[in-house]
Symmetry: C2
Subunit: 197 residues, 2 copies
């Protein structure tokens, strides 16, 4: 069990077969030292790639992305879910459907901060159905930049996201891969180990 | 001129007498090493206070708050501008009027992460009219916790925010204080120095 899986076991709450609540360290309260470890691990996994920029999406992607950026010494850009009044020029946009909220949001980024020569690592907190990651990938492609890979903090491997991203040919690095949330229990893909085992 | 004022001079864009765009390092693209310096400076300024938690607001407050939390070794909680589907219990809320957007948002935080024994440092990216900081202070008070102070990355000192917060008796530490954005020029309060001088 890696450091993140241990934190998930200690602090995560299974709300249903689909929903893991991690609001003590990632989604609402943030533990900076856990974020730093996450950043170091992303940096280690992508150390052989010529990454020049990290792209994430507000709000829960920002903390892990900024720590990865600190370790990798590259800037971070966060896509917005709502348009800013002072960021209205040269926007690249993509539609992202949220299965949880059952609504489509337009996410956007200024093409000033995503350049054709950029090699971009996409980072997000969760991978479920893959819609947010595909939207971020679309932003990178529209900017003419290169997608180096996708770094995910927590992957729900029992949902379709990874398969969809793999079909597009992207390299995916998920720091914790959850195989099941059935019966109120977190089971990881790695060695099929569950939290209380 | 301190490190942050230098970054503002090099990278900020004056959009009007009221609006400074800092989307190259803080509001859209984030420079992690600048955020780390900001975190260190907040930590230095509040080093004699028994701070147990940092409270900020999504999205642009998160990066400086997390770096301050890393330096001070305390967790960070971010208030949400929109309710989360998995964060709907035990919410404390406050109304925040945005002069820029001319709309009122309800911000919220779970009282699970703000406890009566907490000593809270409030951190935000900008201080203008003070509405967001007052809303965050209201959340801390509703939780029965203690407000140790308010840390601001960029204060627009020509607007009413600081005065309103001082009237409430809060300690305010702003890392860059802007006295004027007139004539397309950034002038700092410190020594009345302007960017190109």
């Amino acid at each position: 069990m890696n450091f993140l899986e241990k934190v998930i076991c200690e602090e995560g709450t299974v709300l249903s077969d689909n929903i893991l609540k991690v609001d003590s360290f990632l989604n609402h309260q943030i533990k900076p030292e856990v974020m730093l470890e996450i950043g170091k691990e992303f940096s280690r996994r992508f150390k052989n790639d010529p990454i020049t920029k990290i792209l994430t999406i507000e709000s829960s992607g920002i903390a892990p992305a900024v720590m990865a950026g600190l370790e990798m010494n590259v800037p971070v850009v966060f896509a917005r879910k709502k348009k800013s009044l002072t960021l209205n020029q040269d926007l690249i946009t993509a539609q992202v459907y949220s299965f949880t909220k059952q609504e489509t949001n337009e996410i956007s980024v200024s093409n000033k901060w995503l350049l054709p020569e950029d090699h971009v690592l996409i980072i997000d907190d969760f991978l479920a159905h893959g819609e947010a990651a595909l939207g971020l990938a679309s932003l990178v492609k529209q900017a003419g930049a290169t997608i180096s890979g996708i770094g995910i903090v927590i992957e729900k491997s029992f949902q379709a996201g990874r398969r969809k991203l793999e079909e597009e040919g992207y390299r995916i690095e998920s720091l914790a891969r959850i195989g099941s949330l059935s019966n109120g229990k977190v089971t990881f893909v790695s060695e099929e180990v569950a939290c209380n085992e």
